[in-house]
Symmetry: C2
Subunit: 237 residues, 2 copies
């Protein structure tokens, strides 16, 4: 029986054009040894791998799609190169695969088959935002996206605030950039004045800003957020 | 009025002697420009900074202690260099400052004073374990350490499992290495047979192992864990 390959979790940049700053030389070397990749979007993954300048040609590399529409039944086929003894890499659209993205599906499959999984060190906007927030890093919860409908969203925020006040937990959320201002408004509208709210925008990018203020302080100045990736965190007291 | 400096959050290695693999060249360059550091333990922080080989001499660098016994009232004094216009760096004992360590205290102080905070990309055992686990990375909670007393610990595990089953949340814990086997036993004793349990040991180190199994499968083979840093994660179904 062939020994299966190793499944590497390859970090991508968070902000465009920052590969030299956030991708380790050792990670580039690992990527150089891989020929088979799974990616949320093949075009952007090819562009990322190409930007690392470790391959003479990226034409020979083989990319398959693993995204939110991928069904567990397709995994056997998608991971055939791995099962057949080749190393494979998972590349996400932004940051670390397996965190707030569909990569976990393939990792779960590999774990089930007793195949070695190796996560590589790279940038995570969630983790960097938490570090920079100054909020509780000893207990925190990540909830992904808040509901799209305003009433549902504000109900959810109120529930998470209650939970935060009771347990001292930092609550973490992401949002699609064009909805930053709506979500921020919902936080201001729903949270108590002395709850600490952190907005982390364009992490690792040229416009990086990580600011933690009491909700009552945020309310004093009208803030207009750019359409850039953002992480929202709060801690109730 | 003097413009304050920038507070940098400096990642440390997780596994001894891996600085070349996990610390970015750009992070080393940032450290090179800093003269004032806060550290949990001055001796090990000096050794870490020295191992990066960016300073001609580390003798001139100034280290102050910021640990779990630091009182918020001492921060004004500890962060005086920052307020006076110098950049400062926070170094934790392992991985990323502000996550599962006391660094957040100084970050909160800087945020309150409107001082710029910049988290630097580096290794986090929690994040790498989550990536490699294949468990839900769209919703997860970190709880730090479980209770030391067995009965309390197993009660806590049962409560977290109920929560995980209800909300689909991955539950994450750390443990002091000499207690790995006790905690593992408590997981096996308390969790349901089809709950997925991941044990991630010696992340980024030579003995790195990240394995996710059903509790019923873990029970089939007696596993003895080494006294190495570990992250435990589970997801109930």
């Amino acid at each position: 029986m062939t020994k299966p390959g190793t499944l590497f979790l390859i970090p991508n940049v968070i902000a465009e054009g920052t590969a030299d700053e956030v991708i380790l030389p050792g990670v580039k070397q690992v990527i150089k040894g891989i020929q088979y990749f799974l990616a949320e979007d093949i075009r952007t993954a090819r562009r990322f791998v190409s930007s690392l300048k470790v391959f003479d040609s990226v034409e020979a590399l083989q990319f398959s799609v693993l995204n939110k529409d991928t069904d567990a039944a397709e995994l056997n086929n998608l991971l055939k190169p791995l099962i057949n003894g080749n190393d494979m890499g998972i590349i996400t659209e932004s940051g670390c695969p397996g965190v707030a993205d569909p990569g976990a599906l393939a990792v779960a499959f590999a774990q089930q088959k007793n195949i070695r999984v190796v996560p590589l060190v790279g940038p995570s906007s969630l983790l960097l935002a938490l570090m920079g927030s100054g909020l509780n890093g000893q207990q925190f919860s990540f909830h992904g996206y808040l509901p799209v409908q305003r009433a549902d969203r504000e109900k959810a925020i109120a529930d998470y605030e209650k939970d935060s006040r009771k347990k001292g937990v930092t609550q973490i959320f992401i949002e699609t950039p064009y909805r930053n201002n709506q979500v921020f408004e919902s936080f201001l509208h729903t949270l108590a004045g002395d709850t600490l709210l952190c907005v982390a925008v364009d992490i690792t990018g040229p416009a990086e800003s990580i600011k933690t203020r009491k909700v009552s302080e945020w309310k004093k100045h009208k803030t207009e957020w750019p359409k850039l990736p953002a992480v929202f965190l709060f801690l109730a007291r």
